[in-house]
């Protein structure tokens, strides 16, 4: 099994990244603060005003290193991409299946099912762990609602119907999400999903984590030679990474929402860790962003047993495993794409 490589996050404003031999050198105020050999890195993510030498970009592209530029708030700006990698036959098969409504609906159904199962587990877990502290009845109702959604997905429904069920399940799930937040602070109440910009603290956290997830999933897909822009559930739109968003659905609840919830519930992120702008948009402070990144990196190092491979691997590698399974499905080595369902 491949090793989980590290990701370098640069959040310090005014930093400059350059290539130094086989290393990435991070310079701040004309002083090299860190020098990391590129072979230990799987990706580099730059936030805000961080610049970078063209040689490093070329080097990263050549080594297949994911290299993304994000705004300070985590909105995706650009990425560096080298020559298209991987097998043309695999990509062609991906396009063929994405063009076929039946094949798309099939994989979309399994991805959405995994998403719903993972979301449902979060609700069940909250009921089990904090049953005494929280009002259980809406949660109980949601658990059975999600189960009902799952059952409807068992039938061979069309892509549009499947997406309808997904929307309904997401609505229901985010409808009870507020009950999962144990913090009494009114600032952490969750009313509904809002993005671009996020209008409250919880949404701000969620959006930021989802951006990180998208970066990792996209890199994983491109490592096995898939085209991250051509999805099955998410249809083509210029500049959108459809397939990355598809595969990410399986991880939203299991990685993203759980991380956000534990940061809030364990008090690692406090209400003062956010700034409210005049427009009503909510933004994280630099320190909070670092806390989050550390927690996210730690989460990726947690070991789990992969449900399909039955192998112990770190969470961060699961993105790569799913990308590999997606490629296997396209090559015809497995009958269906087995989505990730967490424990």
């Amino acid at each position: 099994m491949k090793k989980l490589l590290n990701t370098l996050y640069v959040t310090t404003q005014g930093a400059y990244l350059a290539k130094d031999g086989e290393c990435v050198a991070v310079r701040m105020d004309n002083e090299v603060r860190l020098r990391v050999p590129v072979h230990t890195l799987g990706g580099i993510v730059c936030f805000g005003q961080v610049s970078c030498s063209p040689f490093l970009m070329g080097f990263a592209a050549e080594r297949g290193l994911g290299f993304s530029f994000l705004t300070e708030n985590g909105r995706f700006l650009a990425r560096v991409q080298g020559p298209v990698s991987g097998n043309v036959l695999l990509r062609r098969e991906q396009y063929r299946r994405a063009d076929s409504p039946e094949a798309s609906a099939e994989v979309a159904r399994s991805i959405i099912s995994a998403k719903i199962i993972n979301a449902r587990r979060i609700v069940q877990r909250a009921l089990r762990d904090h049953g005494g502290k929280i009002d259980g009845s809406p949660l109980d109702k949601e658990v059975s609602h999600l189960k009902d959604c799952l059952q409807r997905l068992q039938q061979p429904v069309s892509l549009d119907v499947a997406r309808g069920i997904e929307g309904e399940a997401a609505n229901g799930y985010f409808g009870v999400f507020d009950h999962l937040i144990l913090s009494g602070e009114p600032e952490f109440r969750f009313i509904g999903r809002s993005r671009r910009p996020p209008l409250d603290r919880v949404n701000c956290l969620l959006s930021f984590i989802y951006t990180l997830l998208a970066h990792d999933v996209r890199s994983a897909l491109e490592c096995v030679g898939l085209d991250s822009e051509v999805g099955f559930l998410h249809r083509d739109r210029p500049g959108r990474h459809g397939l990355a968003l598809d595969v990410m659905e399986e991880f939203r609840a299991f990685v993203g929402d759980r991380l956000a919830l534990s940061l809030i519930n364990l008090g690692q992120i406090k209400k003062d860790d956010f700034e409210i702008l005049e427009t009503g948009a909510v933004r994280m402070t630099n320190d909070a962003r670092k806390t989050l990144l550390v927690a996210y990196q730690k989460r990726k190092q947690d070991e789990i047993v992969h449900p399909f491979l039955n192998e112990r691997i770190s969470m961060g590698l699961v993105f790569h495993v799913q990308a590999m399974l997606m490629a296997r499905w396209l090559r015809g080595d497995v009958d269906g794409y087995p989505p990730f369902v967490g424990k």
Binding site: L8, Y9, E22, V36, P37, T40, L293, Q297, K298
Partner: protein, 96 residues
């Protein structure tokens, strides 16, 4: 696995400085400098073969000495650092 590399390069002949520079450069490409002539490199077996070959071609076996300490994959429990020159953990979160 983690390999600790330390070296002594002789300055007796004029080529010494060049060898020192090139050995340090090779180590730096694969790991971090923890003291002047001590490097810690986290490498897989293939990378280690490449690095070792590179070091052995750079050095002059009659004059220089190189020492490799193999600390394995569970190296975190085997290293303790005291004092100045804080290093980074190559497998921990890298956030700047």
């Amino acid at each position: 696995m983690l390999v600790l590399i330390s070296y002594d390069v002789s300055f007796e002949d004029p080529g010494g400085e060049r060898r020192l520079r090139r050995i340090a450069k090779a180590c730096q490409d694969y790991g971090q400098r923890v003291q002047y002539s001590v490097f810690e490199c986290v490498v897989d077996p293939a990378q280690w073969a490449r690095l070792k070959h590179r070091l052995l071609t750079e050095m002059d076996e009659r004059k220089d000495s190189l020492r490799f300490y193999y600390l394995g994959a569970n190296w975190k429990r085997k290293i303790e650092h005291v004092g100045a020159k804080p290093e980074y953990d190559p497998e921990g979160p890298l956030i700047l």
